[in-house]
Symmetry: C2
DNA sequence: CGTCGAATTGACTGTGCGTCAATAAATTGT
DNA sequence: ACAATTTATTGACGCACAGTCAATTCGACG
């Protein structure tokens, strides 16, 4: 299919060059169609990039769903999601820059309504996967019964996104003495879970053992995992 | 001074139009100098935008410093910083999009070394203001003695940045039922402080009273403050 | 008032997104 | 088999805008 072909090569070039330097003439050459054909499938460059972003996001959703099936206590399952996040960041290092682009208002208004819808659906699915674990945690009593699931999910999204951004920034790395950015992400996730009083708390459980199981069972090929 | 004039009008246009739509011909017309004169002061468009961003950041640093002088327990002072953050977000609603731009690698490499340095210095100063309160908290025993200050600051930067981004996103607002984005930011900051076991914990202190004092003493003119 | 150097200009170049009239390919009708 | 008609594809072109630089204006000083 032509759209898939465009997305395949578009993704490759986008991740290599970033949004600003993505050149549609070059993309046209790569897919061996003309630029006009690209514009039959996508309204604008932004529309194309949103299409690519949604496809990459779909990969992450799948990764999250697999992590959510990790067998263990609810907080261990959420921890597996945290690992999935880091694994995704490693394997799609440059995708975060693109996700940043998506926050810009001027970007969205140049993309087609249909692609905005599809991206929203995909984002919703990721949200559902995380919230499912939170709901389980409340049901089995690992989280206090009055906890509102969406608030927990939102806080986890926030700390994860924020930590990724902050811990990758050279200025902040310097001044905060960051050695391993992904470790920062996972530690901050622990902090928020402890803040919600998600049992078992960090100090009450051997999460190092959990980490080894997650690595073995969910990410057998991951090489980025530092012990700490 | 010419540079100030350029930055003044540049800031106005940048916040009105965003980075992509900032037009240097229009800026030249606004300052009643030619485009060539702009390029005598700034190497590239990115360089100019970084200059503007640093100047806006300087405003935030000043705001933080004022908030840090709030009289009260260490966690109350940190709470004042949290308010400062929200106040800044309200008064520079569009600045966050620009801060997002700064994360993009291709952006930095087009700015001059000197302006990169100045921005780093300014960021460092903001960091110092926050870390100063954390150090005080450890000294007076509001935070556990083994706490590493930079880790606390980093987690607060992360949750604040992440919450701002997440809570502003329409998709996430919908699915998480966000009514007041700034309330989300402050609640998540509470969560992280509780996670560090920063005394007095949320449930052990009348922070609503603190909030009223902060509003009265530091932000007498702020109108965005919702009681909750 | 003339000379020299610094400040300023704005027409010009290059790049790359997006368009659309022209062309090629496929399908249908006879 | 061939013409007519519809659909797919093209790539040269328009245009907006970042960045340049030779020409020009300005101002200081003798």
């Amino acid at each position: 299919m032509r759209e898939e072909l465009i997305l395949d090569h578009g993704q490759r070039l986008l991740l290599r060059d970033g949004y600003q330097n993505l050149n549609l003439d070059e993309l046209a050459k790569a897919i061996e169609y003309s630029k006009g054909t690209i514009y039959l499938q996508f309204e604008t460059k932004e529309d194309l990039v949103l299409g690519i972003a949604t496809r990459v996001l779909k990969e992450r959703t799948r990764l999250f769903e697999r992590a959510a099936r990790f067998e263990g206590r609810t907080r261990e399952r959420m921890r597996a999601i945290g690992f999935a996040c880091c694994d995704f960041a490693v394997n799609h290092r440059d995708y975060f820059n693109i996700e940043m682009m998506l926050k810009s208002a001027s970007f969205w208004e140049k993309a087609s309504a249909e692609r905005r819808r599809l991206h929203g659906i995909q984002a919703g699915q990721t949200f559902q996967t995380v919230t499912g674990i939170v709901v389980d945690a409340i049901r089995v009593g690992d989280l206090p019964p009055e906890t509102r699931p969406a608030d927990v999910t939102l806080s986890l999204i926030s700390i994860t996104m924020g930590s990724h951004i902050a811990a990758m920034e050279p200025d902040i790395q310097m001044v905060c003495g960051v050695k391993d950015p992904l470790l920062v992400v996972r530690r901050n996730q622990d902090l928020v879970c402890d803040g919600w009083n998600w049992k078992p708390l960090l100090r009450d459980w051997d999460y190092a053992a959990t980490d080894r199981r997650i690595k073995a069972e969910i990410f057998p090929t991951a090489t980025w995992l530092n012990e700490a």
